[in-house]
Amino acid sequence: MRAAPDVLERFRAEVGPDGPVTVAGGMTQWDVGGPVDGSARVVRAPTGVVSHLPAEMIVRVRAGTTVAELDDALGSAGQFVPLDPPDPRRATVGGVLSVGRSGPRRLRWGPVRDCVLEVRFVSAAGELLKGGAPVVKNVSGFDMGRLLTGSLGTLGFLAEVVLRTHPRPAARRWLAGGGDPQQTFDSLYRPSTVLWDGARTWVLLEGHPADVADQAGRLPGFAEVAGPPPLPAAGRVSLAPSAALGWAAGLGPGSFVVEVGVGVVHLGPEAAPAPAPPGPDPAAAAIAARLKARFDPGGRLNPGRRP
């Protein structure tokens, strides 16, 4: 077992074994899961891209690193990790993973939880623990990476992760038009993003330039645009893809943007109130309660926050 690098050891010591504590990244999604109890000490995860191995398609990065810094490091080698938070200059890798919300390119590149290969995290007992391994394929033991992704730091604080990278597509092009969102989605082969705001449909195509041009040619009435519409951030609803389109169709055009084929609806302030998500059934709620009891019996990690 390798000794932990000093910087991880310092983070471990800072979190310590007792007292309420919270971990802050860029605080760009700080409201998710509700407010943290005011008594909690604030700690920050270590920063820096430790190593990027393009031929392995992996990157080891500390949790406090901003997504922009990670993007820059990977970009110089022609790769990327599809985290895509709204504010990459401030959002941190650990924050994006702990919140667990994926960016609009998940349609093509998968949700953030699928890029996590290894996690090193500090437990409620103040131990530095590991799950997974730094290889692109691994079923050695239970999946701690997926457990921690989206757990809002209530089971452990991410210190360092190994993520799977992808080669950057040679070409990318945004198009927009009046096409029906489902038909547009159905007519394309694995588009990166399809968005609909009730009136217009946006499409992101990525890949070989000739393929991007060919796919674009299948979209009558679409024209190239600089980028996606701004994604409203007053609310966010997660529904099955068909249900998301159906529900959003009843909202006023322009008050929402729905990720077609995914089911995330981004709501503006003027949109109708979001339907309350169905709570977990009692059996799943009991598993979640036992998880919290096993991983953080004293309730010291991010007290008050509920994933």
């Binding site: 393009p54 031929a55 623990l129 079923v139 050695s140 999946d143 080669p167 159905d186 082969y189 000739a210």
Partner: protein, 481 residues
């Protein structure tokens, strides 16, 4: 809890599930006492469940009788994950899901299917192919293995290089828990509230619950596919080409490697025209839209020639491609003709280390006087050394175990993992401390415990017995089960 006798247990199960679904004959108990590994357990009763209600009833009855429940799909697992063993030595109830084999619902608009756990992997892909869709994980055993087993083992397959392993293709799982309750983990919505219990469950090897329905993501069939078969004079050249392809920004749909020994065995078996004079053969498949595929295929061919390829063959049509894949996927059948027994290993290494590790594997095999062949998922560094032996020869099995352990240690030293796709089961359980600290393992045990605090399901699997919180003791490292 007073443990009742096996006859009472079987009687109650037969009353609940119907006598035909409950087997106690010595022949059947012995069949279900093992899976595709070399490990033998003992089954008290075998339940062939046909519905969620059957699973719930069997779990309730087993729990009341104080018997462990070992879930089982098609039994193709290679790590002993479905071998019935228990902490107290009382033979478990083996709960078989193969009769739950219906594709319940296919929704092409959302590209999702709800399937029962006993649906066979390849049957699902065949059934949705007319819709232009498929289930991307494709283990070599895909004609025989079930979706439930794929979920339990987070199975891979050649095409997981580009498409990801099973967990990336499972949206929701309906699960029977050890208290007999039913819950649905995950959902068709992209961001279900709460912890990702679905993600924790996939790959839990039957220790957390029993899947009774699975919502799988279906992936569009690629419009264009190119399959290349490339021969090399040395395994090093082949391995270096693997790294060169990935470093060039090409992620093939599949990137498989076969050494000369296995290539010869396969060619004898399927006559697919594999280059038997090559020291190593790469099977490279690129798929997607036409221009990207052509460009990627050209890049692969160029890098292969630059890397010393002695032959480059591109499949001319679907029939030729199918024949090449038939050769790859028949490798284990071909080997069965060469020796009475084989042990198929499964480890992962950084792909840039493939050439060194392969040489090390040959050296280990020579040192232990064991025949070895290699056919594996080179693109993701997932090695599958195949050791041939004859169990009847005294000492043969022991030499295979010694060689397998040495290979495992070499792979971990190189920064790899214990298993890429077969799982830990019983077979690699006691090696977990080579990869994880005691505290890491206690955390994993906490995850399992949150799902099954009664420890009813698949005891003694995945985690060494010392992993339980409050029960910390040194685990004898290197004890091969």
């Amino acid at each position: 809890m007073q443990r009742a006798r096996s006859e009472d247990l079987a009687g109650e199960l037969a009353a609940a599930l119907g006598p035909e679904a409950v087997r106690t004959g010595s022949m059947e108990r012995s069949l279900y006492a093992r899976d595709a590994s070399m490990i033998q357990g003992e089954a008290a009763v075998v339940c062939l469940c046909a519905s969620r209600a059957d699973v719930q009833a069997a779990v309730d009855i087993a729990r009341r009788h104080g018997r462990a429940v070992v879930p089982r799909g098609a039994g193709t697992g290679l790590a002993g994950g479905a071998v019935p063993v228990s902490e107290d030595g009382a033979p478990p109830v083996v709960l078989v899901t193969t009769r739950m084999n219906r594709v319940v619902e296919v929704d092409p608009a959302q590209r999702v299917a709800w399937v029962q756990p006993g649906v066979l992997n390849l049957d699902l892909s065949r059934q949705v192919a007319p819709l232009g869709l498929h289930f991307a994980p494709d283990p070599s055993s895909q004609q025989a293995c079930s979706i439930g087993g794929n979920v339990a083992n987070n199975s891979g397959g050649p095409h997981c290089l580009a498409y990801g392993v099973t967990s990336a293709h499972v949206l929701a799982v309906e699960v029977v828990l050890s208290d007999g309750s039913v819950t649905t983990l995950g959902g068709l919505d992209p961001e279900p509230a709460g912890y990702d219990l679905r993600g924790a469950f996939v790959g839990s090897e039957g220790t957390m619950g029993i899947a009774t329905a699975v919502a799988v993501r279906l992936t569009p069939l690629p419009p264009v596919i190119r399959t290349l078969l490339v021969g090399f004079a040395t395994a090093e050249d082949a391995a270096a080409t693997v790294s060169a392809v990935i470093a060039a920004g090409v992620v093939p749909a599949a990137l498989e490697m076969m050494d000369q020994r296995i290539t010869a065995a396969v060619e004898d078996f399927v006559h697919a025209g594999f280059p038997t004079d090559a020291a190593a053969v790469l099977l490279v498949e690129v798929d997607g839209l036409a221009s990207g595929v052509e460009a990627a295929a050209e890049t692969v061919a160029r890098l292969a020639r630059d890397g010393g390829a002695t032959s480059v063959r591109v499949a001319a049509d679907a029939a030729e491609r199918d024949l090449i894949w038939k050769g790859r996927k028949s490798a284990f059948g071909a080997v069965a003709r060469l020796a009475p027994n084989y042990y198929l290993h499964d480890t992962v290494v950084p792909r840039t280390r493939l050439a060194d590790i392969l040489n090390a594997v040959y050296a280990v095999a020579d040192r232990n006087q064991v025949a070895v062949m290699n056919v594996f998922h080179a693109g993701d560094g997932n090695l599958h050394p195949l050791f041939l032996f004859d169990r009847r020869v005294p000492g043969a099995l022991e030499r295979v175990h010694a060689a397998a352990e040495e290979v495992l240690r070499i792979c971990l030293d190189a920064g790899g993992a214990l298993s890429g796709e077969h799982g830990i089961g019983l077979e690699k359980r006691d090696y977990m401390p080579l990869l994880f600290s005691e505290a890491d393992l206690v955390a994993q045990d906490g995850l399992r415990d949150a799902f099954d605090p009664m420890r009813l399901f698949n005891p003694l699997k995945v985690l060494p017995s010392g992993s339980r919180c409050g029960d910390l003791q040194a685990v004898p490292a290197g004890a091969w089960v």
